[in-house]
Amino acid sequence: MTENDPSQPQTSAIPTPGLSAPAVGAQDPRLVSRRWLFFQAALAINALVGVGLAIPVIRYLLAPWRKDSSYKSWVSLGRIEAFPTGETRLAVFKNPFTRPMDGITDNVACYVRHVASDQFQVFAVNCAHLGCPVRWFPQSQLFMCPCHGGVYYADGSRASGPPERGLFTYDWKIVSGELQIFAGQTPTLSNSAKLVNISIGEGESPCRG
């Protein structure tokens, strides 16, 4: 038990910081102005340190915000013989941009349509409406989306339902017998739909020009 032990009931006065200082300040304005000067200077130093630290923190937080092209590169989907002419097949590739903790989530699926001998179409599985995976039905030659019922024709154009446009497509090329696509990020309306003229109801219908 020290002399300052607050448990001593004798020290009855509850510490009331802040009562005495303004009283002094009221008597001597110069003293207060110096204290306030120090206070404001200390605040300013804090603000300075805060701003200085905020810059690297914000840079760190914004790190993923990059140009689309910086995430993309050419990926091989395998030999073109794996995609018979006239058919549409599901292909799976590893996303070119990965991190060690990705696990199976860096798998990406896409549909490869072998139109003619050296003509391909590669579609993202993501519905252009809200990104759900569309399913290919070879019998009716349609892609159907399980979420809100978007339907696309074999060439990826919109057939019906809520999507505003056809399926997203990947750029492709053939390099020494392998089909390569330019991939790397989840296609959405913001990164794959630029400069695409969105028109409704333009399917591969024999009755529409």
Binding site: D68, D102, L189, G203, E204
Partner: protein, 502 residues
């Protein structure tokens, strides 16, 4: 009584240092209007109890849960199947979440109908709106942490919505995902949000919310005709609380305590009876045989997105939430005075009823998703035998085409099949053969055109089958002018005319 003296001495030692007795006594014994000791006033404390319950069960889960895209799904399955009662802790957290969302909405409805947001409690309501948003944020991020197929594609829906923001949509998607695709970095930041950021906000806002309830007093029971005016309200309230009031503890608080206990018991029971939710299939983006659906707090959004016309989608997705939140925030600023009683506020009651019915209806639709094709209907739902008993070979072939070309995925027959398009049990009474053929070939409305995907014989068989689909005692549709074009005498088709040409 040396023992009591010693206890008292220990208590004094702590109290001398903590000095909590005064504030706690003030809070516990402050007088509240007599009628507020009501079962209607228990939902706020109930929501807070559930929040604490979620914190505790969340900490318990975090002992074993691995917040990594590669391991989360495995660790959830380990919790479910290998850790004794791991499934139960998961179920407690999941059901606690369901209950918390429900109680927060009930609490909000109650304080809205009781006019509790009016002067001087405007800010209490506004912080309450923040708490609602944070609670929904917890529900959504929690759904992502249950890292299965539904979580994966559900988040995909989320980023598709964000991507519609003009100009910066792409950048926002990158920020949300922590990279170009939904993967390891995505998982980590949703864990961060769910476990640190949003709970921190919840603690902060809930603390201020409760502080204001203590400082401003519990909203008095609204009486028709007792008008809130800024000039007189505080005085009137103090009179109610002090002259006809009771101490908060035990007068009112025992009901809060009892309700909280009952609710935790209900969560425990639901968790025991119904178990944890998921995880469903592994979050492998290469597995596309999936039918993603959000958890119940977001089913209504899922439904609305199915019904919006394409042109309205982006404006509604981006503008409606902002308007809704601004509207909620504006309620106390617009209607800060006046009647509190729901008996004198028909618009408020109507608004609540409208929102409740709309929410219920959209949620119900979200559970049945009549707009989605049934992906397996074409191969799993048979054509009812009665439709084929007297069928010609051509009609049977048409039925084959109907199944094989996935027509069944969108059109039900005999009550089975998709509901995207109309059921076709009596389609022949609505459309003539020519109309059927035209519709099949060109599609239209919500139907794809099948002209390219069906051969001429297939179309002929399909139309032959469809034109038999009418009740036996009802004549199929026909074109009255048709007989004149073919120079034969006018004659309506026979009511049982399956396979007839006309």
């Amino acid at each position: 009584m040396p023992r009591i003296k010693r206890t008292q001495r220990i208590y004094d030692w702590f109290e001398r240092r903590l000095q909590l007795e005064g504030p706690i006594k003030d809070a516990a014994l402050h007088p509240v209007p007599r009628e507020t000791a009501s079962w209607w006033y228990v939902f706020g404390s109930g929501a807070f109890t559930l929040f604490l319950f979620q914190v505790v069960t969340g900490i318990l889960l975090a002992i074993l849960y691995v917040p990594s895209a590669g391991e989360a799904w495995n660790s959830l399955n380990m919790l479910n199947h290998q850790i004794p009662l791991g499934w139960y802790i998961r179920a407690l957290h999941g059901w606690g979440s369901n209950f918390m969302v429900a109680i927060v909405f009930i609490h909000m409805t109650q304080v809205f109908l009781f006019g509790a947001y009016k002067y001087p409690r405007e800010l209490t309501w506004i912080f309450g709106v923040f708490l609602l948003i944070a609670t929904l944020g917890m529900a959504f991020t929690g759904q992502v942490l249950r890292f299965d197929q539904d979580a994966y594609w559900g988040l995909g829906i989320g980023i598709s919505m964000v991507s519609r923001v003009p100009l910066i949509g792409g950048g926002l998607v990158h920020l949300l995902l922590g990279g170009p695709i939904m993967a390891g970095a995505t998982m980590a930041r949703f864990f961060d949000l769910h476990v640190f950021v949003i709970p921190g906000l919840l603690f902060g806002f809930a603390g201020l919310h409760i502080w204001m309830v203590l400082k401003l007093g519990i909203n008095e029971w609204p009486m028709p005709g007792r008008i809130v005016r800024r000039s007189t309200y505080v005085e009137e309230y103090n009179r109610l609380a002090h002259e006809d009031g009771i101490a908060f503890i035990p007068g009112a608080f025992w009901k809060d305590l009892a309700f909280s206990a009952a609710m935790v018991a209900a969560v425990a029971l639901c968790a025991w009876l119904f178990g944890p939710s998921g995880p469903g299939g592994p979050p492998d983006p290469a597995i596309i045989q999936t039918n993603p659906k959000p958890d119940f707090p977001f089913l209504w959004i899922f439904s609305i997105l199915a019904y919006l016309p394409p042109a309205l989608e982006t404006p509604v997705i981006l503008v409606a939430p902002v308007l809704a939140i601004l509207g909620l925030l504006a309620v106390p600023l617009v209607a800060g005075e006046g009647e509190k009683s729901w008996r004198r506020r028909p618009v408020a009651v109507l608004a609540v009823a409208f929102i409740a019915v709309g929410w219920g209806e959209f949620t119900q639709l979200g559970t049945t998703t009549p707009w989605s094709p049934h992906m397996d209907a074409w191969s799993s739902d048979p054509i009812p035998v009665r439709y084929l008993r007297t069928a010609t070979p051509l009609v049977r072939e048409g039925a084959n085409v109907f199944q094989e070309k996935q027509c069944r995925n969108c059109h039900a027959i005999g009550g089975l099949g998709g509901q995207r398009g109309p059921a076709l049990d009596d389609v022949a009474t609505r459309m003539t053969r020519d109309q059927l053929r035209f519709k099949v070939v060109t599609g239209g409305g919500n139907m794809p055109a099948f002209g390219k995907n069906l051969s001429a014989p297939e179309i002929q068989a399909l139309v032959a089958f469809l034109s038999t689909l009418h009740p036996a005692n009802e004549r199929p549709a026909y074109t009255p002018s048709r007989p004149y074009l073919t120079n034969s005498p006018p004659q309506a088709p026979h009511p049982s005319g399956s396979g007839n040409s006309f």
